[in-house]
Amino acid sequence: MGVLDYFKSIPTMSADEARKFLAGKNPDEYNLVDVRQPMEYEGDHLPGANLIPMAELKDRIKEIDPDKPTVVY
């Protein structure tokens, strides 16, 4: 990752767009990442979401397939 990567704009989706995106796809076709804390995940989470709390992202980045679109919340 280079310095310029920090200046890349990341497209965002509204919740409605995310719902449509996820509904039309097989769970194999995307990464769905919940970056909140475990207690929050336990309370409720999007079905199939992979819990990777923000503080652990750097160490667990390999769990996210860079060839697939990623939805993060």
């Binding site: 965002t12 989706m13 509204s14 475990p38 336990e42 989470h45 999007l46 079905p47 199939g48 992979n50």
Partner: protein
């Protein structure tokens, strides 16, 4: 996703990441998974059957839950077909029952909920509340099957979990449609 989960108006699952996963060992083979998943589907079918009997004075609701009983039967059928396609054999249910006596009794339904407890809860509830419980159970099963498809090592078992999650997704859409009609 803008607004995070607070902006999300769709279905949500509950529980920690490993919720329900202890039920299926990551090292389980396709046959064990089919046996256990079939048992959970059987539990769900018994739940829908019991709920349909609660609504004997409401023909539309009774018919709706009978439709869900049929959907679970189809789900069980597809599960066995998937297994046969992948392995060319049929699961040894007699052997599986001997190994997993506690799990294969049909007493637990999808989402890990005991059928008897769910039916006791549902007996004085309306159609919408019973459907909401069904959705909570099915969405947790959907969540579990997606996670298990990533966690298991056996390729055939992965395929079975992918098939199961795809079927749960369709089932959930049907439940959401039914709930919308009755609320």
């Amino acid at each position: 996703m803008e607004g995070g989960i607070r902006a999300w108006k769709g279905m949500v699952a509950h529980g920690p990441p490993e919720s329900g996963m202890a039920y299926f060992s990551p090292a389980a083979n396709a046959e064990e998974i089919v046996g256990l998943a079939w048992s959970l589907e059987e539990g769900s079918r018994l739940f829908y059957q019991g709920v349909s009997e609660h609504f004997s004075d409401d023909p539309e609701a009774g018919k709706m839950f009978e439709g869900l009983v049929s959907a679970e039967k189809n789900h069980e059928k597809h599960l066995l077909e998937t297994y046969e396609t992948l392995t060319g054999t049929q699961p040894d249910f007699v052997g599986l029952r001997e190994r997993f006596q506690d799990s294969l009794s049909g007493a637990v339904m999808e989402g890990g909920i005991k059928v008897k407890e769910a039916l006791d809860w549902a007996k004085d509830k309306g159609v919408a509340e019973s459907l909401e419980l069904a959705m909570a159970m099915e969405v947790n099963a959907y969540d579990l099957y997606i996670k298990m498809s990533r966690a298991v090592e056996d390729k055939q078992a992965q395929e079975i979990f992918k098939k199961l999650s795809a079927e749960e997704q369709v089932h959930l859409e049907k439940l959401a449609w039914l709930l919308e009609r009755r609320v």
